[in-house]
């Protein structure tokens, strides 16, 4: 049963990822990527990382992809304005991507030896446990992430401004 759910989610995520790459219209690309993200969120639920799944949906599907969609509509991009790569380059890209896939799978095949803990804690992905770890062991990176966000916000506003002299 779990394996069937995993395989279904994996199939859906790979299918929509491929559709995202191959569809002409950028708006459709965004929609397919959101569906891929939902499939990945399903994988997180399967892994008992519920908090991660919810944050993933809120941040990616809710914030980042809506930002992409807004910018797409602002710029009025559609399949008519879509630049098309030359066939030679497409072939090269296919060969390069395929080689990377073959290399990675070949390198990782059968080489994973996990020393799993004797008593495994299935509650590791719940918000209580994650919050404790985040605010004890990772409190300095957490604050640095806040500074990074501030810098990104200032940078985005500065870059997006029409006239810098105001």
């Amino acid at each position: 049963m779990t394996l069937a759910v995993f395989l279904a989610l994996a199939f859906v995520s790979v299918l929509f990822a491929l559709l995202m790459v191959f569809t002409k219209n950028p708006v459709h690309s965004v929609i397919y990527l959101i569906l891929t993200f939902f499939a990945i969120a399903g994988q997180y639920v399967l892994l008992n990382a519920q908090f991660l799944a919810v944050v993933h949906i809120i941040v990616y599907a809710g914030a980042i992809m809506v930002l992409f969609l807004f910018v797409l509509m602002l710029l009025n991009l559609n399949s008519d304005t879509e630049p098309v790569q030359s066939t030679k380059w497409k072939l090269g890209a296919a060969i390069a991507g395929g080689s990377l896939l073959v290399t990675l799978v070949g390198a990782l095949k059968g080489g994973i030896q996990l020393s799993m803990p004797e008593v495994s804690n299935s509650q590791v992905g719940l918000v209580q446990n994650l919050g404790r770890v985040l605010f004890t062991d990772f409190v300095v990176p957490f604050e640095i992430a806040g500074i990074l966000f501030l810098a990104a916000m200032v940078g985005a506003v500065l870059v997006g401004k029409r006239d810098l002299n105001v």
Binding site: T2, L3, F6, V14, A17, L18, M20, V21, S29, V30, L33, T36, I40, Q43, Y44, L47, N48, A49, F51, L52, V55, H56, Y60, A63, I64, L67, F68, V71, L75, E82, P83, Q85, K90, G92, A96, G97, L101, L104, V105, L108, I112, L114, M116, P117, S120, S122, V124, G125, N129, L130, V133, D137, L148, A152, M153, G155, A156, V159, G160, R162
Partner: protein
């Protein structure tokens, strides 16, 4: 022990993440629209996130999932700044074709 840890080998997650990552790389190479290239980068980040979460659950160690949060933070910042730059480029060139961005050539 979780049902998923017992029934699904970790290799499956490794292969799925590798496949998604390679689709992202392929998309970056094949598309000329800067917007779609950014989206493919997001897909690659997500493949890594999935792998981190899977190993975190299999080893019942919370640190992997904390790392996923920080990757999400960086991805969100990257998307905001990247889209800002993209809007600026569009304002100057009236296009998001990455082939027009060869000002530094010669």
């Amino acid at each position: 022990m979780l049902e998923v840890v017992r029934t699904i080998p970790i290799d499956y997650y490794v292969y799925l993440s590798t496949l998604l990552f390679c689709i992202g790389v392929f998309g970056v190479l094949i598309r000329r629209n800067a917007m779609v290239v950014l989206m493919c980068v997001e897909l690659m980040l997500n493949a890594v996130n999935l792998l981190l979460a899977a190993f975190s659950t299999y080893l019942s160690d919370a640190q992997g999932q904390i790392m996923v949060f920080f990757i999400m933070v960086v991805a969100a910042a990257e998307a905001a700044v990247g889209l800002g730059i993209l809007v600026m480029i569009y304002r100057n060139t009236k296009s998001t074709d990455i082939y027009l961005l060869d000002n530094l050539r010669n």
